[in-house]
């Protein structure tokens, strides 16, 4: 039986200076209740690992606007001009990673791999500072694993064993991040009894999940 936290209790699990993975793609599949609670809490100096920085007034964009971030590891910041401004003013360090590489780095972090070899970015600035490994005559960039202290995720439904199912394009990075953080907190639309999700339909097994939070739940 997973413990259900209020958004405020969940946000308090995130401490200043932690690395935090947040699911979502342009705020679809983003744990907005958890983000709002984290903004409320004012936790700062965070390193965020996320696909994109959302919009100035929604998703993880709120953490950008509230100056809670030290660094962002991200594939795209183009939808949030505040991230770009803060990057140019050196208020936030931004590390840009190709989206597919970011996905594999998080998966590797969760799957105990020392890294993966990807052809993406070979011959571009992405290659700078990376190890290049040749296999059968082709160059690949060694993408090393990424892990975080906490993952804040969004699923459609969970059962009380913590098993998760996702909906449509809201799945994106959420199942990957569930495997790659020391503490995994998941915001869900609905919490079901154990047995209400068939084992074949589970996308993220409950062993990856530490706490559940109801979307829009009382603080």
């Amino acid at each position: 039986m997973k413990k259900i936290l209020s958004p405020k209790e969940a946000a308090k699990k995130v401490k200043n200076g932690m690395s935090v993975m947040v699911g979502g793609f342009m705020v679809v599949g983003s744990p907005n209740t958890l983000i709002d609670a984290l903004v409320e809490e004012g936790t700062n100096d965070l390193t965020l690992i996320v696909n994109d920085t959302g919009f100035p007034d929604s998703g993880v964009g709120k953490l950008v606007a509230a100056d809670q971030l030290k660094k962002v590891i991200v594939s795209h910041i183009g939808t949030n001009k505040i991230t770009g401004e803060k990057m140019n003013n050196k208020e936030i360090e931004v590390e840009l990673v190709p989206q597919g590489t970011l996905a594999e780095q998080i998966r590797a972090g969760g799957a105990g791999l020392g890294g993966v070899l990807t052809p993406t970015g070979v011959g571009t600035v992405v290659q700078e500072g990376k190890r290049v490994i040749n296999v059968d005559g082709q160059d690949y960039i060694l993408a090393t694993p990424l892990r975080a202290d906490v993952a804040l995720l969004k699923a459609h439904k969970a059962d009380l064993a913590g098993n998760l199912v996702f909906r449509r394009s809201a799945r994106n990075f959420n199942p990957l991040m569930a495997t790659a953080a020391d503490l995994v907190i998941v915001e869900v639309e609905e919490i079901l009894e154990i047995g209400e999700i068939d084992p074949d339909e589970v996308v993220t097994p409950g062993i990856f999940v530490d706490y559940l939070v109801k979307k829009g739940g009382a603080a």
């Binding site: 795209h76 183009g78 770009g84 840009l96 449509r168 394009s169 799945r171 990957l176």
Partner: protein, 219 residues
Amino acid sequence: MDKQQKRNMIARRVAREFKDGDVVNLGIGMPTLVANFIDGDKKVILQSENGFLGVGPAPEPGQEDPDVVNAGGQPVSILTGGACFDSATSFGIIRGGHVDATVLGALEVDEEGNLANWMIPGKLVPGMGGAMDLVVGAQKVIIATEHCNKKGEPKILRKCKLPLTATKEVDLIVTELAVIEVTLSGLLLREVAEDSSIAEVQEKTEAELIIPDDVGVLK
């Protein structure tokens, strides 16, 4: 031709490149237009890198599903027979060569098939998102772009000057003036627009074009 007419012309021509059964990923912006021109007799399956196959048309206003957006964040639909997946699977599909064609815009493209479309030094860098993976992974990379930039300068160069998105991956360039194939010997002029000429295309192209005997008409 006004800008919209040019864009539609390019999109219409690109759509003719697809074969029945192709899996296609359309980039953000002008490439998205291509979907409007795909011949209904051809079954083309559109992939959206945020996590699904079977992209369908935008729903009627008011009918949007917040969990169903394309990689540009716009509301779309998922056709029956579609499938949803996480970001690692999505880029496994892309990087693994399971996407038959991708259509992307360009800042610059050159005679070696190098592409620059993600950053301009000194300007705000939005991030590469999934573009680097798409260019490296898709079987066929089609560039859909206006022939010249806003200043009227050629975008089709001998050598890209801007930071690259990928090296030697572009297969075909479609503009409002011409269809140009990237070959090992250089840029081969395939088609010229009805209201243009070989001379005009060459004049507006920095790289030297190979002119075969049978240049077709781009309509």
